[in-house]
Structure formats: C-alpha cells, structure tokens
Symmetry: C2
Subunit: 337 residues, 2 copies
C-alpha cells in the first residue's frame, strides 16, 4: 500500500479545500490548530474542526492512529491529525499534555520562533536548550504519545530534545540548510543526529525554505529530497508542505506576532514582503501533491524510497508514535481485555 500524506498544512479550511484533498487522493494531513492560542482558544479551534467533521463526513474525519490512515484510504476520505506549532496550548500546566492528546493532538512543537516555557525558538539570540519544564513535558509527551516537533526551535534545543526524548521526534516542516541556508532550515549535523535517533524530517514547500523561493523548480526540490534521504535516512523522510492556502495576510501576522509584541515582526518576511509568499507553481494545493512522486523518481530515488517519502514513512512513524508508551503492567492489564 502506498499512502499519500502531508505532514503539515495550515489552510483557511473550507469544503473547497476538503474536496481538493479528495481530488488529490490525499489520505492524511497533519493540520495546525494553534500558533499562540491558549488552551481554551485551542479547544475552540477543535470545536470548529468537530463541526467540519460533522458537516463533511464523506470527505474528512479525525485521525487518531495510524490505522485511521488505512481507514481513510478504504473509505475514500482524508484523515485529519491535529498538531500545535507552539506549547502555548498547554499554558503552564503539564496535565494539559494528556488532555490535549485525548482530544486528538498528535504533534506539539516545543517552541514557535521565540523562547517558550520549554525550549528556545530559532529566532532568539541565545539558545539555552530544554528548560526544567521542557524536560518534564517531553517525558510526559513520550508517555502519552504526543510527538515532539522541533521545526521552529533552535539548534541546541533540538539536539537536546533528540537526546532527552525516549521516543523519536520530528521536524515536521523544514529542509537541509546545506541546500538553502534559511534560518528555519536545519544543519547537516542536526539532521544526521535526528535520523540516527529514529527521528523524522518532513520536507517543506514553503517558499522561504526553498532555494530560489517560490520559483524553486520541482526538480531542485526533489534533488534536495535525495540529499535529505542521505542525511536522515530513507525511512525517515516525508513531506510537510507548510501549505497556508487561502489565508488572508492577517493570519501570517498572527503567526509571527501573536500577542508577544505590540510592534510588527516580519519573521521570514520583510517590510517589503509582509504577506504570505506565493507557493511554487508545482504545488498550489492538495491536488498537486501526488505529482511530486515523478520528480522524486527523476531525482534518482528508487520506487520504495519515493513511496516512503510520499506517505509510507509518515504512516510507519504514526504507527510507533501516537499510542501510550508501553509499560509491562499496563500491557498485562490490557491483555485481559
């Protein structure tokens, strides 16, 4: 079975986009439900998703396990997996890790661009690594099956997350900095450490992460994918497009500024390019996702490796990541079920 999975999107969701997911044959998408939202605000976003699940049961449903990806394929729908790009959703309360996991959260970044209560974001001057609370929360995320995502974190924090986590972590949407040295892209050294620990890289199609920006060619991107396979491992790479379809520019301002400053922060943009950048012409929406496969083959990747990147690798990663950590006592009690 070859699955088609996008490991990161944050669109202005609508029936039109859900139908494009179906037209594109996309089996599963990890969607962002929080950037700077508090717990209560994040719950409101979940409520909006619950409404979409109720309104469009023939197009989408909430994914909780790897098996839901298979169920999506069998029923011709797309499984939606929740993630947060910031730990703002757990506030200062470690108990919210399990609560949000029960509500379906499957990925949480330890930081967005700034210092958080848990670790350091990639825009800070000093990266002090995991905080005291950060180490506790990583252990709790490991326990319940909430994946540590370090896409926006600093290099030292990311190394420490790889070392401290007892389960593989992810960088769900970024590219090798040796291909294109964006602040959000990751060093070869870090990517090798990620792969060596069983961690996972989702390749971004967001213009600020691409050599040549929005005019980056599919072939250049697929050559980069081949490089990522060399760095992280053939079973440890997938796609995390960072598609922000149909969003007004007010949303990119929320993503960058939140409530942490009264001034404007342009993040990866600039005073002359304040809004969302235009996506590459080979990836405008979910209907273009499957088209990446041919580019991967043309870049010299064999069929199994290309299939892995398109979705099978994420599927395997979901399978080992979303359940509770196995304890002998729990296993014994559950065996009686």
């Amino acid at each position: 079975m070859t699955y088609l999975i996008d490991g990161l999107q944050y669109a202005n969701w609508s029936e039109r986009i859900f139908r494009q997911m179906r037209a594109g044959g996309v089996d599963a998408v990890h969607v962002t439900i929080a950037y700077h939202e508090t717990f209560r605000e994040t719950v409101s976003v979940i409520e909006r998703w619950n409404r979409w699940f109720e309104l469009y049961p023939d197009l989408i449903f909430q994914g909780r396990t790897a098996e839901d990806v298979a169920k999506a394929r069998q029923t011709g729908r797309t499984a939606i997996f929740f993630g947060s790009q910031n730990p703002s959703c757990i506030e200062d309360d470690i108990g919210l890790v399990e609560v949000l996991h029960t509500l379906g959260l499957r990925f949480m970044q330890l930081t967005y661009n700034n210092q958080s209560l848990l670790a350091t974001g990639c825009y800070e001057d000093e990266d002090t690594g995991l905080t005291r609370m950060g180490r506790e929360v990583v252990a709790e995320m490991n326990r319940v099956g909430l994946v540590v995502d370090m896409s926006h974190s600093g290099e030292r924090s990311t190394h420490q997350a790889i070392e401290h986590s007892t389960r593989p972590i992810t960088i769900s949407h970024a590219n090798p900095a040796s291909w294109y040295p964006a602040r959000r892209n990751k060093s070869d050294d870090l990517l090798r450490a990620l792969g060596a620990a069983g961690g996972f890289l989702g390749l971004s199609a967001y213009p600020h992460h691409l050599r040549g920006g929005g005019s980056c060619s599919l072939q250049s991107w697929c050559d980069m994918a081949a490089l990522a396979v060399d760095l992280v491992g053939p079973g440890n790479v997938g796609i995390g497009t960072d598609l922000c379809q149909d969003q007004p520019d007010s949303v990119v301002e929320w993503m960058r500024v939140g409530r942490w400053t009264k001034r404007i922060d342009y993040g990866e943009g600039s005073a002359t390019e304040t809004g969302f950048p235009a996506m590459p012409d080979w990836f405008r929406d979910n209907r273009d996702l499957a088209g990446i496969r041919a580019g991967l083959r043309a870049a010299g990747l064999d069929e199994a490796t290309a299939d892995g990147i398109m979705g099978d690798n994420w599927h395997a990663f979901f399978g080992k990541s979303f359940g509770a950590e196995c304890h002998p006592e729990a296993a014994q009690l559950n065996a009686a079920e």
Copy 2:
C-alpha cells in the same frame, strides 16, 4: 454476569477509597467532576483524575463504554465514569458538549439547584422548562452520547427533557417523593413518565432523601426500591448513592453556594445543620454496597430484579447511552473499517 455499579458518588478521593472500592467489589462508579466549575476548572479536575489513573492503575481506570465495566470485572479494577451535576462546564458554548464527551464525560445535569442556561433547578419558584439553548444542547447530547441527568431539576423541566430527548434520560440520584417528600425526590407521575420513555432512576442513600434521614433502615430503603421498580420498571432502576465520603464541610458549601451568591444558602441543610449529614449505618463506604442485595431480596424482589438494581440495569443503560447516535451514512462509512 452480575455487576456492582454505583451511579453517583462525590468523595474526597484517595487511595484509601479506591481500595475500599476494590474491597467492595465495585465494578463501576459514576463520579461527579463538576458542580459550578467552568470548562477550564473542570479540565483541571480531569487532570487530577488522570494523575490518579496513572498512580493506581491496578485499582482504577477511566470508563468510557459499557464494555469497560466488563473489563473492570475481568481485571479486578473499578471503572470510573465522569459526570457533571451542572452545565457550568459547557459555559455558553454548545461545542463543549462534544469536547467534554471526548474527554470522557458521560452524564451532565441540565441544572443543579438553580436556573441554568438550559433549564430550571428544583429550588426555583418558577419552572419555565427547557430554554432555547436547553433544547439545542439536549439534541447535541443525544448526538454524541452524553446522558441527560435531571436529578436536581424542576418537575416541568424534567418532563420536557423526557419529551424532547430522543434518547433515554436519567435521574441518577433521587427517590420517590411518595415514600419521602424531600424537595429533591420525584413525584410518582414524573417517575412513571421517566420509565415509560425508557429512562433510568438511581436510588439515593443521601440522608436528606431518606425517610427518617440517616436513621432510615436498610429494609425501609429496600421497600422504597420495590416501590421504585413498580413506578419506573424493573429494568430501569439502579443505585446512585450520592456518597460524599471524607469531604470537609467546605465542600458542601461549594456545592450549594458556588459563586452564585455572597450569602450562605443551606440547600437541603439548615442553619443548625450546615454540614454533610451522617450516612446510614448500612452504607458508610463502598464496602457496604454489595450488602444492599440481601435487603432487596428480603423486600420481595426476585433475583433478576435485585441483580438489575445492583448493577446490571446501569450496565445495560450505559450500553445504549454512551455511543454516538446512529446515522445510516456513518454506519456505512464505519462498516468499511
């Protein structure tokens, strides 16, 4: 299989009480997690329960379905089912019905003693029945599988809940007023309507609901149970003790006063009896629950009816109540699983 289920407790939970549940062979308990708590405060109570589930996995676990009662029996543990005695936990937001159901809420009273956003409590002078939001929320509770509980509601509101709900409702802890005319007990007329609609009555052992208060004999209580069976039906009666074990009197003040007044309201108590009343000597804690069976048999109930009241009836009610309402389309999609 004969199960032992208590349909309502609100104790000052501790390892000691969980061990008493095991010593008493109690398979399942519906526990109150909110009286006047907001959503966020209710989530904090759930966090506390999650911690207890983590600390005492050999004694208790969270119950979500009727099958969990069987699992509890098989693994020698007690399944804990969550309920709220007030809709304060959903605030003014119907979307929180599904969110709390996902977190395991299985019962919600439409009111505590006062008027709520949904219906009228039994202490108000005027009972105006279900509100506009009340009708919407009942439909949403029906959809997701959250049981409507009218234990503390007014008579008219309860009749309307029975009529408006498409699924059977419950009065989880109250007794027939024709046996003892407490404000919280229910008229024969109401109990007949409850049973005729497939609804469920949990019999209370809380002294304010008992003829003779705390000195009510087991036999008098069991005679009352036989009366309840006549009114509601042999398959529609269970136990809902309202056990408030080990609670300080500050808690009964929170239950009665919450944040709705700056003065003291004594509820079922009085200025001379402000605290929790002493429980009857035949029901001090979970170890006494199984002892009720002999009293039921002595009151003339046959074995099947007594087994039903002790737990099998709640078990059957759980089985038809906690899952999502069945829709043909959903059934078709799920059949492909």
